[in-house]
Each structure stands twice: as C-alpha cells, then as structure tokens.
C-alpha cells in the first residue's frame, strides 16, 4: 500500500520502511517550539525529568510573542522564567523583543523549519509549516517538555484527505479565502485527526504566503496537519531562507485518501467567517450590512509581506472610516522593515491606520486592540470563538487582507470590489 506525504515523513523519522494510518509510532523531531504561554508549563514538566540538558540546543525554538512586549507583570515574570531557562540550557533560538516575531511567521523566515521536517510546537497553529512540505503539528506542554529532553515525540499516523487545487484565484481572492471556503465546506471537525494534503496544478497560482495562511488554518478544520506538495516556489523559498538540509517527499500514486476534493480556485469568492465558528462562512454578495468598530490586519495567518501589500493596495489613496480603528501588525521584524522600505507604512499612515510592533496582541484577546462589549472586528486572524478578541459579547469576523482593508474604508464588512475608484 502506498503512503501519503505525511505518512512518508513520519515513517522516515520513525526509522520504519512504511507506516499505515492508525499506527502509533515514536518519531525523531527536527524542531520543538514553544511560546510565552505554553513554555512555562513545559519547563516545569521538564524539571521533573531530573535532567539538566536539552537534546539539542539548536533544535528548540522559544518565541515570546503572545503577550510581548510584556503587557503586564505576570507576562513579564513568565518571559523572565523562560528566558532564564533558555540561557541555562543554551537554547540558541530564543527570540527576544527586537528579534522576535509571531512564531509561525518567524520560524520559516529564519529557515529553522524546512521540507521533510517533523516539527512539534506547544501551540495549535504549528501546522503552518506544512506549507513547506513539512509534517508539523500542535501538541501539549508535556509533549514539548519531553521533546526538549529526548528529541522525540509519539504520533498516531493520520489518515489523509486530498485537496486537489485547480485553476487560478480571482482578483480579490487569496489563500485565506481558499482555506475559509474549505473550512466552510467540511466544517470545524471535518478533518479531525487527519492530514489535509494540498496538491494539484492550481498550486502554482498560490504564493508561499498564501500557502502559509492555508496550512495555518488546518487546525480550524480539526486537522492534525496540513501539508503542501513541494514545487518550484517552495524550493525557491527554502533556498532564500534556509541552509538546513531538506528532503522532498511526494505521495505514492496508490496512497490512500479517505476523501478527495477538487477545489476550483477560480470559483472561490472573497469569504468571511461570521461569529462564532470558522466554518460559519459567507461569500461576497452575502455579507449583509454589518457595521464594524475595528480592523486587525496581522497574525500568524496573515501578517506576512504579501498581506501587507494587499492591505496597502486597497488602502492606497483611501481613508479608514471615521468609526473604525484599523491596526496593522507586520508579523516579524523583517516583514516590518520590508513593508516600511516598500513605502507601505506611508500608505497606512496616510489612510489613518496604526502600525504595531510584531506581536500576537489582539488575536487571542491579549493586548493592543481588545474589543469592548458589543463591538465588532474584521480580523485577518484565525479564530472567531466567543470572546476571542475581548469582551464575551464582542464579535470577530475572519477574512483575508483585501476584505479587511476594504471594510476599514467603508466601516462595514465589504469586498474591495464595492469600493469606488480612487
């Protein structure tokens, strides 16, 4: 029986010829990730092991990004705790404010994760690196602790769903609309346990930033991981960012998929997830009349350079609506500088938007843009659960950067196609 991309990567890291769905294995990991919320718990578990050394100082990344720069005393204490641990363990990839970015944008950019890797992270959106053709998944703090100690993690080999992408997305459609469309179609547990494998000729019409944004939200469909077939664009990205050894795995022709979907990219419209689940999607033309108070453009889903460019494309020569606060979060220092050098910041500031230092900030209701009771935000983030961005009676609408920027201008949920020419 043939194997899928995910199954092949897992087999190779478990030292096995082959694996099949449902099998439990112990696999070597190439990177263990934690943030300022999950790492403190993992450090406490690590201490119980009674060892004073991590398995590999180079293969652990600790990124204080959620409540950083420290929003209050408690978060400052937590970061201090993990900073000291990182120093003691000589962990090379601890990213201090000034170096730090949102973890899932930062690791690929720094070249710390690459094709064919197995990556675990104590953060559910670790699945993002599947865009590079890696097996990458979110775990708990105990997994992180044991991963730091041994360089291994156990897995149940997942079944797979195949998403065959064909055609080319339309004018105002990006990877985010594609993944929201898919989640709307299969539901928030539509991919439970399974790997979502993205293949097909349509891939060439999706940039790496589109793919990161899609792999990022595999978890919102319940998936264990999302993974993209490696093509020239992936290889070019890897070449630019990473010196790590990588390996390209392709699915066998007779690999088994529990389900196969053909996604016609040209048919996908700008899509928004209405409260309070990511699968509650509506397409352009069906948004209704929803006035908003805030727009957030950023996060591990859509805080990359192309997202900044898309926002600028819409905001150029226009003004943020008087009832709206528009906050833009480039996800890393590098993206920040690039956006600045490309003149995007001038466009944002002209339009009346605020630009923040890299942080998760409001995405998880942390800081830098919390919603009051009854307020509504359009956000390029990934979760719109009750109270996710602030008050339990506030609302989050998920979209891509085009719709978010257009909504900032009109003051209600809008597609860029609705805007007047400038």
């Amino acid at each position: 029986m043939g194997m899928t991309m995910t199954q092949k990567i897992l087999a190779s890291h478990a030292g096995l010829e082959s694996v099949k769905a449902g099998q439990l294995i112990m696999a070597d990991v190439d990177m263990v990730l934690g943030n300022d919320i999950t790492t403190p718990v993992a450090v406490k578990e690590f201490r119980k092991l009674g060892i004073n050394k991590v398995f590999d100082e180079k293969k652990i990344a600790i990124v204080p990004d959620h409540f950083c720069p420290n929003k209050d005393i408690k978060s400052a204490e937590q970061v201090k705790f993990i900073r000291e641990f990182s120093k003691e363990m000589k962990i090379e990839n601890f990213f201090e404010v000034g170096q730090m970015g949102i973890e899932h944008a930062l690791l690929p950019e720094k070249g710390l994760v690459t094709a064919g890797n197995v990556v675990i992270g104590a953060d559910s959106h670790t699945c993002t690196y599947g865009a590079l053709g890696a097996f990458s998944t979110g775990v708990g703090s105990t997994d992180m602790a044991c991963g730091m100690a041994t360089g291994k993690a156990w897995f149940k080999v997942p079944e797979a769903m195949k998403f065959e992408l064909v055609g080319k997305p339309g004018r105002w459609v990006s990877g985010k609309d594609v993944i929201l469309h898919i989640i709307g179609m299969i539901g928030v547990d539509g991919a439970l346990y399974r790997s979502m494998e993205f293949v097909g000729e349509g891939l060439k019409n999706l940039s790496m930033d589109d793919r990161f944004s899609m792999a990022n939200m595999a978890i919102e469909a319940g998936g264990k991981n999302g993974i993209f077939e490696v093509d020239e664009k992936t290889l070019a990205y890897i070449d630019e960012h990473s010196t790590k050894e990588f390996k390209v795995y392709k699915a066998d022709p007779d690999a088994e998929y529990e389900q196969t979907f053909v996604i016609e990219l040209n048919k996908i419209k700008p899509t928004v997830s209405f409260p309070h689940l990511p699968d509650n999607t509506r397409e352009e033309g069906d948004f209704g009349d929803v006035p908003i108070d805030q727009v957030v453009i950023g996060s591990c889903t859509n805080g990359r350079i192309e997202d900044m460019r898309m926002a600028a494309e819409v905001l150029k020569g226009r003004k943020v609506h008087e009832n709206v606060r528009c906050i833009i979060f480039p996800a890393t220092q590098k993206i920040w500088r690039q956006a600045m050098n490309e003149g995007l910041f001038d466009i944002f500031i002209e339009a009346g938007a605020a630009i923040s230092t890299p942080t998760c900030g409001p995405c998880l209701g942390g800081h830098m843009g919390i919603l009051a009771k009854g307020e509504r935000a359009v956000a390029t983030t990934n979760r719109n659960f009750v109270g996710r961005m602030g008050h339990p009676e506030s609302e989050v609408y998920l979209s891509g950067p085009y719709v978010a920027a257009a909504s900032a201008v009109t003051g209600k949920i809008s597609s860029p196609a609705e805007l007047q020419e400038v």
């Binding site: 449902g22 099998q23 439990l24 092991l49 708990g140 105990t142 100690a149 156990w154 547990d189 439970l192």
Partner: protein
C-alpha cells in the same frame, strides 16, 4: 494491563470546559481538579465514580482547549480508562501523556448501558462487557504506549528510559 469497573456514559462532543471548567484552572493539583470533574455536565459524577470506573462516550470526546487539566481531573477521580467513538486529537495526546488510558471503539457505545461492568485488556485491545456478555476488539497499544501508561505518563516513561 487490565482495567475493570462500571461504565459511566456520556454522549457526543464532551468538551474540556465541562470536563474541568476554566474557573478551577487556578489549580493544577490533581485532587482539587478531580473534585470538580464533569461538574457542568454531570454534577453527580464525583459521587458515583469509584476507583477503576470506565467512561464510555460517543464522538469527539475532549474537544475544545488543549488544557492538560482535563485528562488530569479524570484520572485523579479514579477513572481507569475512557472509551469513546472518537477523541479530539489534542485531548488524545494529553491523556496518553499524563498516563490516562483511552481507547477508541465505535461499537461499544451502542452496546453498553450506564452501570454495566466492563473489563479492558490493554495488551490485546479487548473490551469485555461482562454484564451483557459481549466482547469487542480494538487496536491494542504498541509496547511503548503501554509503557507510557504503565509509567504514569510520558514524563515518567522518559525518566526511566533516559
């Protein structure tokens, strides 16, 4: 390894918030968590649960947050095993990692009533409903998974192997 006890039954989508409500997460003490286990779905759980009991549930058990407090609370309340049609994946991991055995068996739910006596053999993956005299087969854990459980979780297991 054998688990033995009476069945305590729940339906679909038992989420981590009902297993251990967020208001009790200011503690990670197992005994304290156990005192509030299942409180929001079954206030009587803490009274009826006895050492060795087995939770039998339907689909997507443990969905919601990644809090490890949820399997910790169940384990500390004396439950020897959870058997469901399916589990949410982070709960599944966390349960094994803290040493709470869990098994997937789609058929058991329909064939079991609350209070039935169950016996589970983890080595063979056999579940026996003694009350109804019915045997179900599921995948046995591979050796290392059994060892994780036997060592009270991943930390205990790793500690022994390093």
């Amino acid at each position: 390894m054998i688990a033995k006890g009476k069945a305590i039954k729940y339906g679909d989508n038992v989420d981590t918030d009902v297993i251990i409500p967020a208001r009790y997460l200011n503690s990670s003490e197992p005994a304290e968590l156990a005192a509030h286990c299942m409180e929001d779905i079954d206030a009587d759980f803490v009274n009826k649960v006895e050492q060795g009991d087995i939770i039998v549930a339907a689909r997507n058990f443990g969905c919601g947050s990644s809090r490890e407090h949820a399997p910790i609370a169940i384990k500390a309340s004396g439950v020897s095993c959870v058997i469901a049609k399916t589990f949410a994946r982070i709960f599944y991991r966390n349960a094994i990692n803290i040493g709470l055995p869990i098994l997937e068996c789609p058929e058991l739910f329909e064939e079991t009533e609350e209070g039935d006596r169950l016996e589970v053999d983890f080595d063979t993956g056999t579940i026996n409903n003694i009350t109804r005299n019915k045997v179900f087969k599921t995948h046995p854990f591979p050796t290392f998974m059994q060892e994780i459980i036997a060592n009270d979780g991943l930390v205990g297991y790793i500690k022994k192997t390093i």
